[in-house]
Amino acid sequence: MDLYFPIAEMSINVLLLLALGGGVGMLSGMFGVGGGFLMTPLLIFIGVPPAVAVGTEANQVVAASVSGALAHWRRGNVDFKMGFILLIGGFVGSSFGVWIFTKLRALGYIDIVISLCFVTFLGIVGGLMVAEGARSWIRSRSPGSAPKKKLHQHTWMHGLPFKMRFRRSKLYISALLPLSIGIFVGVLSAIMGVGGGFIMVPAMIYLLGMPTSVVVGTSLFQIIFVTANVTFLQSVNNQTVDVLLALVLVVSSVVGAQIGTAFGSKLKSEQLRALLGILVLAVGCKVGFDLIVTPAHLFSFAVSGGH
C-alpha cells in the first residue's frame, strides 16, 4: 500500500515505513536511544530527499522524547537547572544550525554535508559501542580485573569562570561547559535531524561528570525543546517538515518502543550494545559507501525560485 507524502513529494510503501519506524522504535526502547541517528539515514536510503528526512525526523524526535521525558520527570530524574543551561546552548546551536542548513541547501551542498556528518558520528559512536561491548565481554570472562576509576578528577575544565551549583547533579562547575555542549549538539541536531542523545549522554557523563541517574531524563528534557526549535525553523526556512510522514513514523516507533522496552529487560545488555554498535557502524558504512562509489548519474537538478 503506497501513500503519497505532500512535502517529500513522493509515494512510499506504508508497510515499509511502519517496519522501519517499528524496528528503530524497538531499538530505541531496548537501549534508551532516540533512534533519530538511524531513522534519518534509513529515510535517505529509501529515497526521501535528505533535507526532508532531516526536517521530518526532528519533528518525530519531539514526539519520541516526550513520553520518555515525562516518565523520567515523574521519577524525579531530571536536573532542570542543568537542562535549562543545556537548552539555552541548544537553542543558539540549533538556530545557527538551521541557518547553515539553509545556506548550504541554496548552494547545493546540503546532501553531502548531511552524509558526512552521519559517516563521522555513526562511525565514532558505533566504534565506541563495539569497543565498549568487546571490553565488557572480555572483563566478564576474566573476573576481578575491573579497572578502578577515580570518583572525581580535576582538569582544566574546572578552572573555567561562571561557576554554578547544580544540586540535583551534585556538581559545582562552570556554566560554560553545559552551554557549549548544548550549542554543539544543537548544531548537529539541526543538520542531522537527530535529538543528539548519542552525543549528549556520553558528554554529560564523561565531560560534566553528572550522575547516570539524571543523565537520560535531563537529556530527553532538553531534546524536546531543541528538536521543537529545529522543527519550527525548518518549517519556516525550508518547508521540509512532512507532518504526514512524521505521524506514520511516530505511531510505528511508539509501538516499537514498547515492544523493545519489554524485550530489553530480558536480554543481556553488553552483547546487545555491541550488536547495536555493529548496526550503527553498518549504517555509517553504507552512507560512506554511497559517498565514495561512482554515482549512477552525476547530474542533479533543483527548481530554483520554487513556489
Partner: protein, 247 residues
C-alpha cells in the same frame, strides 16, 4: 463510459468540421483535463483520442509547467563525490511527453522537428548568463538524461495508434513524481512531412484533499505549520506514553 461517448462524438464531428484547402480537420479530447494528486497517488494514465480527416501521422506532445532549474554535476573531490559546477536553465518543462504514430524521423524532417521542439533531445533549453557553450551543452544533455530516467521526459514512438486512417488514440503516462501546475497537450497532424494541423488542449495537475491542504499550509503559513507540527508531535508522544502506561 463517458470516454467512449466522447470518442464517438469526436468522431461524429469530423464530417461537419470546416476543412480549408491546406489545413486538415483535427479533433481531439482527453479522458480528463485534471489530474489530482491524492494520498494514494502512484502515477496515472490519461487517454487522448481524436480523429483526423485524411491519412497522415499524429504526434502528441504534452508539456508540464516551465521552471528555472539549477543543474549540478558531481565531481570526485578527495575521494568523495560532491556537487561542483552548476548551470541554470530557464523555462525548463517539468514534464515532456512525446508520442507518435511512427518514429519521429520518419514523420518529419529534422529541421521541422527542431523548430517545433518535438522530442526531448530537441527541447531548446537556454542557460542563464554567459555559460561556456560546451559546458552548457553537456549540462543540457545531463539534465535531459536525468529527466528521462525519472520518467519525466518520455519519447514513445509508435504509441499513437491510428485506426482506419481516421481515429487515433494515445495513452499518456504521468509518473508519481509529476510536477504540479498547468500542462499543454499539442496534437499535430502531419501530412507529407508537413504539419497540416495542430490542436492544443490544456490540463492541470494538482494536489488535492489532504495533500493539497498540507502542502499549501506548509508554504503559505509556514510558522503556524511549524507550531502545529510541534503540537501534534507533543500530543502524540504524550498519548503514546499514557496508552502504554495503562496497558
Amino acid at each position: 463510459m463517458t470516454s467512449i461517448k466522447r470518442l464517438l462524438s469526436a468522431f461524429l464531428m469530423v464530417p461537419f468540421a470546416p476543412a480549408s484547402a491546406l489545413a486538415s480537420a483535427l479533433v481531439v479530447d482527453l479522458s480528463s483535463n485534471q489530474i489530482e494528486i491524492t494520498t494514494n497517488f502512484t502515477g496515472t494514465n490519461l487517454l487522448l483520442f481524436g480523429a483526423i480527416d485524411r491519412k497522415g501521422d499524429v504526434v502528441v506532445v504534452v508539456r508540464g509547467p516551465r521552471r528555472t532549474e539549477v543543474v549540478r554535476r558531481k565531481e570526485r573531490v578527495a575521494g568523495i563525490w560532491i556537487n561542483r559546477a552548476a548551470v541554470t536553465f530557464e523555462s525548463v518543462p517539468g514534464y515532456n511527453f512525446v508520442a507518435s504514430s511512427r518514429p519521429l524521423e520518419q514523420i518529419a524532417s529534422e529541421e521541422t522537428l527542431q523548430r517545433l521542439q518535438i522530442g526531448s533531445e530537441r527541447l531548446r533549453l537556454q542557460p542563464v548568463g554567459s555559460a561556456n557553450s560546451a559546458l552548457a551543452s553537456s549540462f543540457r544533455k545531463g539534465l535531459i538524461d536525468l529527466k528521462k530516467r525519472k520518467a519525466l521526459y518520455t519519447d514513445m514512438p509508435g504509441n499513437v495508434s491510428i485506426r482506419s486512417e481516421k481515429l487515433f488514440r494515445a495513452d499518456l503516462n504521468f509518473p508519481s513524481n509529476v510536477p504540479t501546475g498547468s500542462y499543454t497537450a499539442e496534437i499535430y497532424h502531419f501530412d507529407g512531412g508537413k504539419p497540416a494541423s495542430v490542436n492544443r488542449t490544456q490540463l492541470s495537475v494538482q494536489k488535492a484533499g489532504v495533500e493539497e491542504a498540507i502542502y499549501n499550509y506548509a508554504h503559505d503559513h509556514s510558522a503556524i505549520y511549524g507550531i502545529v507540527a510541534i503540537l501534534i508531535a507533543l500530543f502524540a508522544g504524550w498519548l503514546g506514553g499514557v496508552i502504554f502506561r495503562k496497558a
